[in-house]
Amino acid sequence: MAEARRIRPFAVRHLPGFPTMALICFVCLYAPIITLVMFSFNESMSMSQWGGFSWRWYVAAWENERVQQASLLSLIVATCASLIATTVATAAALGTTRTRRYRGLTGIYVLINQPLMVPEIVTGVALLIVFAMVKVWTGYTGIGYLILAHTAFCIPFAYLPIRARLESMDATLEAAAADLYATPWMAFRRVTLPLLWPGILAGGMLAFVISLDDVVITEFVKSGGQDTLPTYMLSQIRRIVTPEMNAISTVFLAISIALVTIFFLLSRGKKQ
C-alpha cells in the first residue's frame, strides 16, 4: 500500500480538508430537511423521540379547515400570478431580444429586474401603503391585490428563462417562414412559439414556485382572513408546534422539488 501511495502522481487540484468540508456542507444542507420530513411520519408529538411510523399528521393536516383554505388560496394566487406573469413576460422577452438596441432598453431591463434587487420587506411595505390607500378609495378587499403583487415579482423569474431561450434560437427559421408567405402571426404561432415553448414552460414553472413560496410580500399585502399556506405556517410557528406542520412542509417540499426538477430538465434541453 505504501508503495502505491508513493507513486501516485501529485494531485494538482487537491486541497487538503476541502472535500471533507464540502461533504460536511452537503450533509448540513440536507440533514435538517431530512429530519423534518422524518418526524412528519412520527406517531408521537415529539420532535426528537421516534414513536413509530404513522400517517396521523397528514390526516390531521388534510382535515384542518384552515389548511384547506390556505392551500386553496395559495394555489389560486400562484396559478393566476404565474399565468399572467408568463404571458406578459413572453411578450416582453419578444420585445427586448433579437432587436436593434433602442432608447429606453436599459430602463426596461432595470424595471423588469427591479423585484430581484429590492429587498422583499421594502416592496411589501410599499405595497401595504399603496393598497391601504386603494382599499379606502374603492372598498375592494379581495384577492386581486395578492394576485397583482405576486404577478409583479414573478415577472423577472418568468422573463429570464424565456429570454435565454429566445436568444439561443435560430432567427433564420422565422425568416424562412416569412419567405414562404407566412403572415407574421402565422410565423409566430407555427414557428416561434413551438420553439419557444420549453422556455415559456420553464419560466411559468419558476414563477409558480416563487409565488407559492412567498411569505414576506404576502404577509404585508393580505387583507384580514386571507392566509396563503406560507403565511398560515408563519402565524402557527410561534405557538407550540405539532408534527402537523412537518406534514404540511413535507408536501410543500415535494411539490417544489418536483417543479424545480422539471424546470432543470426543461432548461437543460435548451443546451442540447
Binding site: 487540484r13 464540502a22 435538517p32 419578444l94 411595505v125 413560496d213
Partner: protein
C-alpha cells in the same frame, strides 16, 4: 489637382441618397419595429410599475408626511420620519440624542449580515471548489444538490433549523443523551440562531457564483505554482484566491444583501426580541403606528442595498460579464 476635385469626400457621397421628400423605408421599418417592441413590453411594464416600482415612489412621499394617531399618515409635510431614523428627542428636556434602540438594531443587522457572509465564505468556498474539481459529468449533479434547497421554501428551511436547535430538539436531546450537558443549551431565540439560520438559508447564493468563477480556473497556473515550489497554502492564497475573487465578491454581496433585509429568519429564530432591520420596519406598521418612520427606514435599507448592488455590478462588468 483635377483628380482631387473629382473625388468627393465620403460624406458628400452619402448625402444625395437620402431623399429629403421621398420615403425612407429603413426609417419606417425601424419606427414600426420600435412601436411593436414597446407594445410587447408595455403590459409587463404596466404591472411592474403598479405592483413594484410605483409603490416605492409613494413610499418616498410617505416618509415626508406626519404620522397619524392610529397608523396611516396625515397629509402634511414633516421630516419627523427621517429625523427618527437615527435621532430622538428626549421626552423630558427636549434634547436631541441618537436613537440608541435604532442604532443597535442597525448595528445588529450589519454585523449579523457580515458574520453570516464570512461563515458562508468559510463553508461555501471549499464546497464550490469541491464541485469545480469533480469530473465534468458529475458537476451538474452536485450543483443540482446545492440548488434544490435554494428553491425550496425559505420558511420551511428556517422551520427545519428551528426544530433542530430548539430546547427539546434533536441537537439538545442528543447532547443530553451523550451526557455532555445536563440542561439544554438555549440556542433558539438568540443572535446565534439567526446567524445559523441565515447561513443555512443563503449558503447556495455563495456557492453558485463562486463555482461559476472556479469552473473557469486554469489549473495549469496552479500546476505552475507547485512546480515553482509553492506550498498548498501559498498556492491557494496567491494563485487561486486572486483568480476567483470576482466570484467571491459576487457571492458575498448576494449573501449580504438578503441578510440585511432578512425578515422571516430573525422573526422565527430570533423570537421577536432579537430584531433586525426588517422587523424594525414591520414594527412601525404594526404596533409602532409610525408609518413615516417605517417608510424612511425602508428607504434607508434600500439605499444600503443599492450601494452594495452597485459594487456588484461594477465588479461584474469589470470582469467582462456577469457571474452567477
Amino acid at each position: 489637382m483635377a483628380a482631387q476635385d473629382t473625388s468627393p469626400a465620403p460624406e458628400e457621397v452619402a448625402a444625395p441618397t437620402m431623399a429629403p421628400h421621398g420615403t425612407d423605408y429603413a426609417a419606417i421599418a425601424m419606427r414600426r419595429e420600435r412601436r411593436n417592441n414597446l407594445a410587447l413590453v408595455s403590459p409587463a411594464l404596466l404591472i411592474l410599475v403598479v405592483g413594484a416600482s410605483g409603490p416605492l415612489v409613494v413610499m418616498l412621499i410617505y416618509s415626508f408626511l406626519a404620522a397619524g394617531d392610529y397608523g396611516g399618515v396625515v397629509w402634511e409635510f414633516s421630516t419627523q420620519g427621517w429625523f427618527q431614523v437615527f435621532l430622538q428627542r428626549d421626552m423630558f428636556d427636549d434634547t436631541i440624542g441618537f436613537a440608541d434602540a435604532h442604532l443597535s438594531i442597525f448595528w445588529r443587522s450589519l454585523s449579523l449580515a457580515f458574520i453570516t457572509t464570512v461563515l458562508c465564505v468559510i463553508f461555501g468556498f471549499p464546497t464550490a471548489y469541491f464541485i469545480a474539481t469533480r469530473p465534468p459529468e458529475q458537476r451538474s449533479l452536485w450543483l443540482f444538490l446545492v440548488t434544490i434547497p435554494f428553491w425550496t421554501n425559505l420558511l420551511i428551511r428556517t422551520y427545519a433549523i428551528m426544530e433542530v436547535i430548539r430546547n427539546e430538539g434533536l441537537v439538545n436531546t442528543a447532547l443530553m443523551k451523550a451526557g455532555l450537558i445536563s440542561q439544554p443549551i438555549q440556542m433558539l431565540y438568540t443572535d446565534f440562531a439567526i446567524m445559523l439560520g441565515m447561513t443555512y438559508v443563503y449558503l447556495p447564493l455563495m456557492v453558485l457564483p463562486l463555482y461559476a468563477s472556479m469552473e473557469k480556473l486554469d489549473f495549469r497556473l496552479v500546476e505552475a505554482s507547485y512546480d515553482l515550489y509553492a506550498s498548498r497554502m501559498n498556492t491557494l492564497r496567491r494563485i487561486i484566491l486572486p483568480l476567483v475573487k470576482p466570484g467571491l465578491i459576487a457571492g458575498s454581496i448576494l449573501v449580504f444583501v438578503p441578510c440585511l433585509g432578512a425578515y422571516v429568519t430573525p422573526r422565527v429564530l430570533g423570537g421577536g426580541k432579537r430584531l433586525m432591520l426588517g422587523n424594525l420596519i414591520e414594527l412601525q406598521f404594526g404596533q409602532g403606528r409610525n408609518w413615516p418612520l417605517g417608510a424612511a427606514l425602508s428607504i434607508t435599507l434600500l439605499l444600503i442595498v443599492m450601494v452594495a448592488l452597485l459594487i456588484y455590478v461594477r465588479n461584474a462588468s469589470r470582469q467582462g460579464g456577469a457571474h452567477g
